[in-house]
C-alpha cells in the first residue's frame, strides 16, 4: 500500500507539466545555470534511476532539501509536526465527545428535541466549509467578544520548556499553569472549529447505529434485569454500536488531515498543513514532495493504529 502510494506520488509530480527547475530559477535564467541546477537536482538522470534514488531517499528518511531554506525537509517537518499533531488530537477528542454523548442521548430520546437538534446540527455543520466556520468563529470570539486570540500558537512570552513540542504537555510537565492557560486559549478556536465540523459525522453515525441497536433484544434483555439507563445505553447499546463505527472513524482521519490544512491556514497555526501551503506558494518542490509523502505515511500509520485499537475494542476480532 505504501509502495503504491509512493509510486503514484512520484509519477504524479513528474507527469504533470511544469518544470520545477524553471519554476525555481525563473524563465529567464541562462541555459548553463538551468542545466547545472537540473544536474544538481538529479533531474537529468534517466527516469528509472531517478525513481530508485527517490525510493532510496525515502527509505533512509531523506525527504530532500528545501530549495527555499536549504534545510533538510525532514528537519522542517519534524519541527512543525507536533503542532499539527496537537491540533488533530484535540479536534479528534472534541469530535468524539460531542459525537458519542450527543449521539447516544439522541438515540435514546429519538425524535425528541434533542434528537432533532442533533440532526440539524449534523446537516448544517457538514455542509459548511471548515475554513468558513473558522472565520465565523474568529469573528465572534476573537473579533467581537475578544475572548480568544485570532491566530497563532502561543504568545511570545511563555516560561515552560519545550520538550515534546506538544505545548499542552510541555506546559503541564513544567508546571507552568499560566503558560498552560495561554496555550489552551490559542488552541481553543482551531481545535473547536475542526472538532465541531468533524463531530457532525460522528454524531450522525453514533446516533443512527445506536438507534438500530436500541431496538434489539439485547437492550430489552438488559432492561429486563433492571439495569439503569446509563448502563444500558452506554455499556450495552453504544458499545455494540461503536464497533462498526470504528473503522469508519479511522477512514475519517484522512479527511481530518485535509481539514487540518485548511484550519491551520485560517488560524495561522504553524503545523505541516500551513507549511505545505507556504511551500507551494514558493514553489519549493522538494519540500512539497516531501510533505506529501509524509502525509501519506502518516495516514498509513494511523490506519494501522486504528486497526490495532479496533482489535482491542472488539473481542470478536481477536478470536
Amino acid at each position: 500500500m505504501i509502495f503504491i502510494l509512493l509510486v503514484v506520488i512520484f509519477f504524479l509530480l513528474r507527469i504533470i507539466p511544469g518544470d520545477p527547475v524553471l519554476a525555481i530559477l525563473g524563465g529567464k535564467a541562462p541555459l548553463e545555470v538551468i542545466e547545472q541546477k537540473r544536474h544538481e537536482m538529479g533531474l537529468d538522470k534517466p527516469i528509472i534511476v531517478q525513481f530508485f534514488d527517490y525510493l532510496k531517499d525515502v527509505f533512509t528518511g531523506d525527504l530532500g532539501t528545501s530549495t527555499l531554506t536549504n534545510r533538510p525537509v525532514i528537519e522542517e517537518l519534524k519541527d512543525r509536526f507536533p503542532a499539527t499533531l496537537e491540533l488533530t488530537i484535540f479536534a479528534f477528542i472534541i469530535a468524539l465527545l460531542i459525537g458519542l454523548f450527543w449521539g447516544a442521548e439522541s438515540a435514546w430520546r429519538k425524535d425528541e428535541p434533542l434528537d432533532i437538534g442533533a440532526r440539524v446540527y449534523s446537516v448544517l455543520l457538514y455542509s459548511v466549509p471548515v475554513f468558513w466556520f473558522g472565520l465565523i468563529l474568529q469573528l465572534i470570539f476573537a473579533s467581537y467578544l475578544r475572548w480568544l486570540p485570532v491566530g497563532g500558537r502561543i504568545p511570545a512570552v511563555t516560561s515552560f520548556k519545550v520538550r515534546t513540542g506538544l505545548y499542552v504537555l510541555d506546559a503541564i510537565m513544567s508546571g507552568d499553569w499560566k503558560g498552560l492557560l495561554e496555550v489552551l486559549r490559542y488552541l481553543a478556536l482551531p481545535s473547536i472549529t475542526l472538532g465541531m465540523v468533524t463531530s457532525s459525522i460522528f454524531l450522525r453515525m453514533v446516533r443512527n447505529n445506536t438507534v438500530l441497536i436500541l431496538s434489539k433484544d439485547l437492550v430489552k434483555a438488559a432492561r429486563a434485569r433492571g439495569l439503569k439507563k446509563r448502563v444500558v445505553l452506554y455499556g450495552h447499546a453504544v458499545k455494540n454500536a461503536f464497533v462498526p463505527i470504528f473503522t469508519i472513524i479511522g477512514m475519517e482521519f484522512a479527511s481530518l488531515l485535509a481539514g487540518a490544512i485548511l484550519t491551520e491556514t485560517t488560524f495561522s497555526w504553524p503545523g505541516i498543513g500551513s507549511y505545505l501551503v507556504m511551500k507551494i506558494r514558493y514553489r519549493d518542490f522538494p519540500a512539497i514532495q516531501g510533505t506529501i509523502i509524509f502525509f501519506g505515511l502518516f495516514i498509513v500509520v494511523i490506519s494501522i493504529i486504528i486497526d490495532i485499537v479496533n482489535a482491542l475494542v472488539d473481542p470478536r476480532v481477536r478470536y
Binding site: K216, A221, A224, G226, K239, P315, R316
Partner: protein
C-alpha cells in the same frame, strides 16, 4: 390440589395493553384475566400477533414508551400499571425475571459473562464486590450446566443452547418469584429444546418460582405447564388445566390448534391448518374475533363479543357455551 390453593403471585384483571404505532394504537392485549400461583407453570399459547409476547413484555413494562396500560396487573400485590420507570427497575430482575427468544441477539456478545452477572447483581445489591459476584455466578452457572470457568469468556464464544442457559441463569440469579419465558426454545434445535425445558422445570422446583411460558408451540407446553391459557387476537379464549385443554378442548380455536399439530400417526397424515388470518388489532371486530375463521360460527358471534363462561374448572370465551344458546 395444593397448587390451586397456593398464594397468588401474579394477577391480571381486565388488563389491556395498547401500543402506539405511527398513526394509531394497536390493541395487542385487550382485556385478559389471569391468575398465577406460587410454584405454578402457566403456558400461554397462540399464533404470532395474538398478544402473548406483548403480555409477557408488558409484565416488565419493557414496551415502547408510548404504550398504554389499562386495568390491573398485580405482581405480588403491587399494581404495576401506573408504575414509572424508576420503580419498575426494582421489580425487573428481582421479582420478575425474563428469558428471551433468541439467545444470539438477546445477550450482549461483547461483554464478558462474569461482567453481565456483576452489573445485574450490583444493581440490586449495591455493596457487592466483584469477587462476591463471581462466587454467586459460579454457583448459578453450575446449576444451569455451564462450567464456571467459562464466565470469563464472551457470549459470542458460546453455542445457542449454552447462551440460552446463560440467559436463564441471568434471569434467576436474583431469585425472582416469577419467570417469564418468551419463546425460550424457538431458536433452538429440537434436542436442545428438550434440555432447556427440563432445565427450566428443575430450576423452577428448586427455586420454588412460578413460570409464565409463552409459546406458539403446543408441544412445548405439553410437559411443563400446569395450566394453559390460549390467546387469540388479544383475548384469552380458553384457560384450563393442561389435561383438560389437551383432552377436552372447548373453544373451536383450541380444537383446531390441537388438530394442526403435526403428528406421526400413520392414520392421520394430513396436515390441517386454519384458513384465514387474525383480524386487525387496530380496529378489532365488534363480535367474536375468531368468528371469521370459526367452523361453528353462529349469527350472534358477529354481533356481540362472547361472554366469559366458567366451565369445567376453567374458562371459555365462546357463545357456544353460554346458556341459552345452542350447545355443542
Amino acid at each position: 390440589m395444593t397448587k390451586n390453593e397456593g398464594e397468588v403471585v401474579l394477577k391480571a384483571e381486565n388488563l389491556k395493553i395498547h401500543y402506539k404505532t405511527k398513526k394509531s394504537y394497536v390493541k395487542a392485549v385487550d382485556g385478559i384475566d389471569l391468575t398465577l400461583r406460587k410454584g405454578e407453570t402457566i403456558g400461554i399459547v397462540g399464533e404470532s400477533g395474538c398478544g402473548k409476547s406483548t403480555f409477557g413484555q408488558g409484565i416488565l413494562k419493557l414496551l415502547p414508551q408510548k404504550t398504554k396500560y389499562y386495568g390491573k396487573l398485580l405482581v405480588r400485590d403491587v399494581d404495576v400499571t401506573p408504575l414509572r420507570e424508576n420503580d419498575m427497575r426494582k421489580v425487573r430482575g428481582k421479582v420478575v425475571g425474563m428469558i428471551f427468544q433468541d439467545p444470539m441477539t438477546s445477550l450482549n456478545p461483547i461483554t464478558k459473562v462474569e461482567k453481565l452477572f456483576y452489573e445485574t447483581l450490583k444493581e440490586h445489591n449495591p455493596g457487592i464486590s466483584f469477587n462476591e459476584s463471581r462466587e454467586v455466578t459460579a454457583q448459578i452457572l453450575q446449576k444451569v450446566g455451564i462450567e464456571p470457568r467459562r464466565m470469563r469468556e464472551y457470549p459470542f464464544q458460546f453455542s445457542g443452547g449454552m447462551r440460552q442457559r446463560v440467559m436463564i441463569a441471568l434471569a434467576l440469579v436474583l431469585n425472582p418469584d416469577i419467570i417469564v419465558a418468551d419463546e425460550p426454545t424457538t431458536s433452538l434445535d429440537v434436542i436442545v429444546q428438550a434440555q432447556i425445558l427440563n432445565l427450566l422445570d428443575e430450576l423452577r422446583q428448586s427455586y420454588n418460582a412460578s413460570i409464565i411460558l409463552i409459546t406458539h408451540d403446543l408441544g412445548v407446553v405439553a410437559e411443563m405447564a400446569d395450566r394453559i391459557a390460549v390467546m387469540y387476537a388479544g383475548h384469552i379464549v380458553e384457560q384450563n388445566g393442561k389435561e383438560k385443554i389437551y383432552y377436552e378442548p372447548k373453544h373451536p380455536y383450541t380444537k383446531l390448534l390441537l388438530k394442526s399439530i403435526p403428528n406421526t400417526n400413520p392414520k392421520d397424515l394430513e396436515l390441517t391448518f386454519i384458513p384465514g388470518s387474525p383480524p386487525s388489532l387496530v380496529n378489532p371486530p365488534i363480535g367474536c374475533r375468531f368468528a371469521s375463521r370459526c367452523p361453528y360460527k353462529m349469527s350472534i358471534c358477529d354481533e356481540k363479543e362472547p361472554a366469559v363462561v366458567e366451565i369445567d374448572g376453567g374458562m371459555v370465551k365462546c357463545w357456544l357455551y353460554t346458556q341459552g344458546s345452542d350447545k355443542q
